[in-house]
């Protein structure tokens, strides 16, 4: 005889990721590592920002470079002779806490003060996945259009610092930088917004100051 039964499962996949993220943060805290998750679209300037920070910040830095299938970002950072782990997500559009946990295993955490985690270039999917970082920096650029904030509100809601990059190109592409700043502030009234032109080293010192404040 067969019978039909209803079984309570109550297992939230996103909460499972959050639990792993918390575990990652405990691992980082024990090792005294402050971790920053860098989020932004393809071409917004994530890797450039990380390079500029490595050049200027007097800390032992490690990097987890997330990418779909390539290792280009990891290779770019490797030339600084610091510990770098390239994480390939395969078909996935975001890093998750489980992948980062493996990344942490491959890093000499006891020798690192600061960990930069470069997420996959995407303003949508990474929002749902905490990694266990202490700070989330979202970087967007003028060339993405001045409606990009309104189109992706949730990522700004979760950000601890927002950078608007390529402000030197705003006129060329007809982007209103003030509108972008106002849009961020309306979504997340407490978040600091910094305008940069990373190519010209403009605004980078303000970013460093904001990171030091958060540490």
């Amino acid at each position: 005889m067969h019978k039909i039964a209803e079984v309570e499962v109550q297992n939230d996949i996103l909460i499972a990721n959050k639990k792993l993220a918390k575990r990652n943060q405990r691992i980082l805290d024990r090792a005294g590592v402050f971790a920053i998750d860098f989020l932004g679209a393809v071409g917004s300037g994530k890797t450039t920002l990380i390079e500029k920070l490595i050049e200027r910040m007097d800390y032992s830095i490690g990097v987890i470079a997330g990418d779909i299938i390539s290792k280009f970002d990891a290779e770019r950072v490797k030339r600084y002779n610091i510990p770098v782990v390239g994480l390939n997500t395969g078909k996935e559009c975001h890093l998750d806490a489980h992948l980062v946990e493996h990344g942490l295993e491959d890093l000499p955490l006891d020798k690192i003060d600061l960990l930069f985690i470069e997420n996959v270039g995407n303003l949508i999917c990474p929002v749902d996945f905490d990694l266990g970082s202490h700070m989330r920096i979202v970087i967007i650029s003028a060339t993405e259009g001045d409606d990009t904030v309104q189109k992706h509100p949730l990522i700004f809601k979760e950000a601890d610092l927002v950078i608007i990059n390529k402000v030197d190109l705003a006129n060329a592409v007809g982007a209103d930088i003030n509108k972008m700043v106002e849009d961020v502030s309306s979504i997340n009234p407490h978040v600091k917004v910094i305008k940069t032109s990373l190519k010209n080293d403009e605004g980078i010192e303000d970013v460093i100051e904001a990171i030091l404040e958060a540490m």
Partner: protein, 123 residues
């Protein structure tokens, strides 16, 4: 597009729960998806059906319940937010319906919960 990995995790969790309860077949799966997750229920459902093939879930009915967004605002408002744009899964709320500002915490709407399953098992 992380529906594939989410659906894969859902399938694994359901198979695990079904096996623990000695199921021969999974007939129904009820999943709660928060309105503010960036997950498209229709895509999730489609992928679940594809991934179910040749498993204990093959042919199961997937019920997706949408959990409405709920916020707690600094103005004192606690409750839902109006979905005004008719989009099926992406509800870009940026302001509190009471004070119109964005200084609020999201309480509900970010779930991807496997609520329960209906199984057939040996007596």
């Amino acid at each position: 597009m992380h529906e594939l990995s989410m659906a894969d995790a859902i399938i694994k969790t359901v198979i695990d729960a079904a096996e623990k309860n000695n199921a021969i077949e999974v007939l129904e799966v009820t999943i709660e998806i928060g309105e503010l997750t960036l997950l498209n229920p229709e895509q999730i459902k489609f992928i679940l059906e594809v991934l179910s093939e040749d498993t204990i879930l093959e042919g199961a009915k997937f019920d997706i319940e949408i959990i409405p967004a709920k916020i707690e605002c600094s103005c004192g408002y606690e409750g839902g937010v109006a979905s005004d744009d008719g989009l099926d899964h992406y509800n870009p709320i940026i302001s509190c319906p009471s004070c119109g500002k964005g200084d609020f915490k999201i309480i509900d709407g970010r779930e991807c919960n496997i609520k329960n399953i209906k199984i057939e098992k040996e007596e």
